[in-house]
């Protein structure tokens, strides 16, 4: 089965063809079933492949990896790129998350999108996304990965703009289509850097295959250190675009314009983690470029706290979750940056579970509220939507880092990684962000599910729980959000349990770690310190929760706090005016320059051409005048003279043949007479 891993992305793509060509003529049910079936098939195949991989013999480095790639794709002089797929432990984690969570979200979508007209189009895009995401995950080299990378960007563009004729954000006048385009262009800016990085790699190492790059950068020698740092930062910029990190995070909040299952699948669980995945894939390179890793850690930590703060003021249920996603992605990058790759990927996985669950829960709420997304108009939904509420609460606890749930283990591991790597600033920032996370998540829960309903009686009577197609995936994900973290039980607990740290053992060989193993592998660290830090983090989270509950219990307190904070609140409420800043600093000058160039094109470049034409025309006019008056004058004079003679002689020419004959006869007579008389 390992030899057929290339089939995994192709199966959903087959679904694209079927639904794309015939979807509009098929019954809705069939469309949904085909879409889900292809993803399920991909999931089963993935499970088979991963099981087989686990049973295979590791290579000399202790790594279980399987590569297939016979077909040449871009055979260049500098580098030859085949269609190459590979599966290793790192890929297998993503593979299972993407197909598993993807399948649940597909099922959920059948229920969620049931009332849409463009049902087939939605599932076509969704399947295309799955195909591209799996290409990205299974890629054996950077170019195949880039196909998936750009492909998921395209699907994201299409799905954000799914309601292409609807406005999205009335405050900024953004439409859904605008939001999609914003996402695509922002990603392209990152991809630009990414591509430059790839070019550097290809030129200097002559290969783009991951395993060979890892091999070559490890033995690159100190001479190429600067190169590797540069490439590392360039690649990370690409990841910034895809995974919504500072400074390119601005598209993700607006990406919420897409249907909610899309937000769950693409903008929370899978696509946005592609950047994390890519950086982890290139761990061998980053191991040689500690400066680049420092940048990643700094950007990640900064994003984590920054986005979390923005999440505290948002009132759109999905936007709160979007900022939360940005923040959690920041966590993952911070983990990668401090060398705790396994922790980062672990968090990627648990985050996929609970964040997908949060989004799907939010979707269920929106569905039940008939499209309302403003949490200030919700409240008290606990009673009306019990299943949604309980699953949502599980996910909230998970993300807040309450012990025993998935988020706790991964978050703790990241924090420990940051602490033990010596980056105390990173640790501090992340710990603070954890508190803010707990705060805004419980604010969300409080405003949505607790208290009393604020949307009016009319709306209240319509609120309903979603059907089983939607709630069953929620429950499955809730289960995963609880147990999903147990595979990464820290060493410090329960040293003898069978599943201890299995995640780490599975993943570690796929990571080239500069710190020699990261969390868990360091036997020397003190369990006491780890316990202390863990308790501290939980304490911070509990503080956040407590604060949120206290503030939002009263109806007037939030407003009062907002008034007290004044400008600070305004700053956060307006998202630090980053969009406006970009608009002012980048977009407006850019358009101004474009218009300037158009002016130059019309008036200068083309003006020269037209000027040449006009000059030629002017000269021609003068020449013409000279020609007519002087040169032609002489000719005409000749003509006039001739005409004069013509006038005189023309009379003779009567045109009557008989006249001519008469004259001729007369002449003959005269001649005869002359010769007769003379002779």
């Amino acid at each position: 089965m390992l030899d057929f891993i290339w089939l995994i992305p192709l199966i959903p793509l087959a679904g694209v063809l079927i639904n794309g060509f015939f979807g509009r003529r098929m019954p809705l049910k069939v469309v949904g079933v085909i879409a889900c079936a292809t993803v399920l098939a991909a999931f089963l195949l993935s499970v088979g492949a991963v099981v087989q991989l686990a049973g295979s013999e590791p290579n000399a480095d202790g790594l279980r990896i399987h590569e297939v790639g016979e077909l040449d794709w871009i055979p260049l002089d500098a580098v030859s790129v085949p269609w190459e797929f590979s599966l290793d432990p790192l890929g297998s984690v993503l593979l299972l998350v993407v197909t598993g969570v993807g399948f649940l979200i597909h099922v959920y979508s059948i229920g969620y999108m049931a009332h849409e007209k463009d049902y087939a189009r939605f599932f076509t895009y969704l399947n295309l996304f799955m195909g591209m995401m799996l290409t990205l995950v299974l890629a054996g080299n950077m170019m195949v990965m880039f196909v998936g990378w750009e492909g998921v960007g395209l699907c994201s563009y299409l799905l954000i703009g799914f309601y292409y004729d609807k406005p999205f954000d009335t405050r900024t006048g953004l439409t859904c289509a605008d939001a999609g385009r914003k996402a695509f262009i922002t990603n392209r800016i990152g991809d630009f850097a990414f591509l430059i990085g790839v070019l550097y790699l290809a030129i200097n190492f002559g290969t783009l295959t991951f395993s060979e790059i890892s091999e070559k950068v490890t033995h690159a020698g100190p001479g190429s250190h600067a190169l590797l740092v540069g490439v590392g930062i360039l690649l990370f910029l690409g990841a910034c675009g895809k995974s919504a990190q500072i400074p390119l995070y601005v598209w993700l909040p607006d990406a919420m314009a897409g249907p909610t299952p899309v937000s769950a699948l693409i903008h929370a669980a899978t696509m946005v983690t592609a950047g994390v995945y890519m950086v982890a894939r290139m761990s061998a390179l980053y191991a040689q470029a500690p400066e680049a890793m420092a940048v990643i850690a700094a950007v990640g930590a900064l994003t984590a706290i920054f986005a979390a703060i923005m999440g505290t003021a948002a009132t759109d249920i999905k936007k709160v979750l979007a900022y939360s996603t940005v923040s959690q992605l920041g966590y993952m990058f911070a983990a990668l940056g401090v060398g705790a790759y396994v922790a980062g990927i672990f968090h990627l996985m648990t985050h996929a579970f609970f964040k997908a669950l949060l989004f799907l829960g939010a979707g269920s709420v929106i569905h039940g509220m008939n499209g309302e997304q403003d949490i200030t108009k919700m409240g008290g939904l606990r009673k009306k939507m019990p299943r949604t509420y309980w699953t949502f609460l599980v996910a909230t606890l998970a993300i807040a880092g309450i012990p025993g749930l998935a988020g706790f283990f991964s978050k703790d591991e990241i924090l420990w990684g940051a602490w033990s790597s010596g980056n105390k600033m990173v640790w501090l920032t992340l710990a603070a962000a954890a508190g803010v996370t707990a705060f805004y998540m419980f604010r969300l829960v409080y405003l949505t599910f607790w208290g009393r309903f604020r949307g009016g009686d009319e709306a209240e009577s319509h609120v309903h729980e979603s059907n089983n197609l939607m709630t069953v995936p929620l429950m499955i994900l809730a289960g995963l959000a609880i147990v999903g973290g147990w595979v990464g039980f820290p060493n410090s607990f329960l040293k003898d349990a069978p599943f201890i740290h299995s995640f780490h053992h599975w993943l570690a060989p796929a990571i080239a770690d500069s710190h020699g193993g990261g969390h868990g592998a360091e036997a020397s660290h003190s369990a006491g310190v780890e316990f202390g830090l863990m308790a501290l983090a939980v304490g911070i989270a509990l503080c956040g929760i407590f604060l949120a509950l206290q503030i939002y219990k009263s109806s007037s307190l939030p407003q009062k706090i907002a008034d007290t904070l004044g400008p600070v609140y305004k700053l956060v409420r307006n998202l630090f005016w980053v969009d406006e800043l970009y608009n002012l600093v980048v977009l407006r000058p850019f358009y101004a320059v474009c218009r300037g160039f158009r002016w130059v094109d019309i008036h200068v470049v083309d003006g020269l051409v037209n000027g040449t034409r006009n000059a030629t025309l002017g000269l021609s006019y003068i020449s013409n005048l000279h020609d007519r008056v002087v040169v032609d004058g002489l000719v005409n004079l000749t003509g006039w003279t001739t005409t004069l003679f013509h006038r005189m002689l023309g009379r003779v020419q009567t045109g009557m043949i008989q006249t001519y004959l008469s004259v001729m006869l007369l002449g003959v007579f005269i001649l005869i007479a002359y010769y007769t008389l003379a002779g």
Partner: protein
Amino acid sequence: MLTVSHVMILSLVLFGIGVFGVLTRRNILIVLMSLELILNAANLNFVAFSWAHPGIQGQVFALFVICVAAGEVAVGLAILITLFRNRNSVNIDEFHLMKG
């Protein structure tokens, strides 16, 4: 006794009638017929001299002229028909396109 002079007088008369016809008639058809008279006057002369001074050239030439005349009439009549079709007239006065 018929002499060359008699024949020449005949041909002179024919020639005169022909010239008169060509110069005075307004109908192209008659002009053409008059032309035939002139040619035949010349033919008569050829034949007469050939008869008076034994030799074949004169008669050969007369035959040749007949041929040419036939051709000329054919072309002339064709032109005439075309003219008539275009102008609906055979009056020679109306055709003075060559007037300077």
